[in-house]
Symmetry: C2
Subunit: 317 residues, 2 copies
């Protein structure tokens, strides 16, 4: 297992610069007063393709040699990674195949295709996904880019907190949502090297708290098909992300479904940004753990903004 | 009638700097391709109190001498100006009274009160509003700050395009929504002095096209109770804003209700920002007048983000 280094992150930063935004950091006086902390929201919802995953995907795609690049890239993801890999491959002008269940939302398929990627459908089971994916790779010779358990991807995600570190002076802590742990691992990689005194928190839905339970148990525990409004956070940790989480994370905090939706609506209302339920989990945990964050300067990573505007969570309630 | 000068705008810039955000400029490759133009969205939805009107209100409030300030400020507005005047007065620590009909949405009253302002309710008629407002001023001695027909307000709004002019090089045109004409007048004031070759367009709902008809007729024509989803744009031009509009605007373009809602949803979806229907009118007119804007670098002013998340226009359709 190759563990990405700070040099890998710095190389990623230079490599992906032409293909990603240096996203803005926004603040809200109202939410600061509510939380008792000073919060700096790093807006990766305003990133290319609508999510921080454009960073890791671009690093993987633009790090390939020409021979491998010609064969393209492939992944299995019905979430932002598939869209972002398609975006990055499109920018390089190489093929991208994304395997996803035929039951995935049409909008997700359209997003991949919108950037020029190719969608191959499988049955909604792990067996089918793995079989179909193996076929795709065998046929095309495409390079597999895992959504998070990949050193190139983690090094790419680490460029987000590098920017945040430059944009906001004297942070006491950074908090990001945790699913597979790609963003949190990139944050650990960057901050443990550049600003080791900054505490790193991960935020997770109570209904998909595998990372929380893993962290407490000291080894990876995977959930069995968790259900949460924060649909980007259902996947389990893997060995590479576990390495970073277990070594560098200060604590993992959880929030209920209602707390997540309330925090999401609060951010939309007061900060005027469109972001995914997953991106609201950090604020939800900050508001319920005032003692942990009170008086601190906290970077909060808003991970993505790809949400169905016709199916907002408060429309159903 | 005192017409504000470029010196007034520059004085406003220095005066309000501690109280307003230098808002970011966002771009969307997707919308650029759709429109055939290069669009630079100046995000005043991310402004303090959620609207550009924080600029003009802050300029009026912080320009008062101490004696007048002690008596406070007052206005009649059930829209963003009332909220923003309350915000600015709160920052200076002086009283603010906003007269609005008792039928105004609770959220608007709450917004004024949220910043420390005082709401005085009247009947939903011009007669009642004027009578109640006269009473408030007689009792308190408060300074009246008109939502747009006020040189201090126009000078303050002009700081927005000053920033845009610094943030984006070589603009060919700027477009802003037009209601009473405060933002458009401020834009005219700034650009006619600093960058006179930049074309200035105003965008208006077809169903509240009084400015368009005034512009064509050569004199102010007021609508009679127009109905439009762009509820910030129902008010008529007044003498001061007519001065700027009639002298410096290149053209006024209109869009239908459906075009406005489609443009609004497009911006939310692709740019991940929450903004009001009024703010979508410029993009709606750009998309239906491709020949006017094709190949140009166009600044698009997103005027505000105060929208009821439980009553989005596409929820009803």
């Amino acid at each position: 297992m190759y563990i990405p280094t700070i040099e890998d992150m710095l190389a990623a930063e230079g490599r992906i610069k032409p293909y990603v935004h240096r996203t803005p950091v926004l603040t809200s006086q109202f939410i600061n007063e509510l939380s008792g902390a000073e919060l700096f929201f790093k807006c990766e919802n305003l990133q290319k393709a609508g999510a921080f995953k454009a960073r890791g995907a671009s690093n993987a795609v633009f790090g390939l040699n020409d021979e491998q690049a010609a064969k393209g890239v492939a992944t299995h993801s019905s979430g932002n990674h598939g869209t972002c890999l398609s975006y990055a491959a499109g920018r390089r002008g190489i093929p991208c195949t994304v395997v996803m269940p035929h039951t995935a939302p049409q909008a997700k398929k359209d997003a991949v295709r919108g950037y020029g990627g190719h969608v191959v459908e499988c049955e909604p089971s792990t067996t089918s996904r793995e079989a179909v994916f193996a076929e795709v790779v065998a046929e095309t010779g495409a390079e597999f880019v895992h959504p998070y358990n990949d050193p190139r991807v983690i090094a790419g995600q680490g460029t987000c907190s590098k920017e945040l570190y430059e944009q906001v002076k004297k942070l006491d802590a950074v908090i990001a949502p945790i699913g597979g742990g790609g963003m949190v691992s990139g944050t650990c990689l960057t901050l443990s090297n550049l600003a080791p005194s900054v505490e790193i928190y991960a935020a997770e839905p109570e209904q998909a708290d595998d990372a929380y339970r893993s962290f407490k148990a000291g080894h990876i525990i995977a959930d069995d098909a968790p259900v949460t409004v924060a649909d980007g956070l259902k996947v389990p940790l893997k060995d590479l992300t576990w390495h970073f989480v277990s070594n560098h994370v200060t604590d993992i905090l959880t929030a209920t479904e209602d707390e997540i939706v309330d925090a999401m609506k609060l951010i939309w209302k007061r900060m005027k940004i469109v972001m995914e339920p997953s991106s609201a989990v950090p604020l939800a945990t900050i508001l319920k753990n005032r003692d942990v964050f009170a008086g601190k300067r906290v970077g909060v990573i808003i991970t993505g903004g790809n949400v169905d505007l016709d199916k907002l969570p408060w429309m159903n309630s």
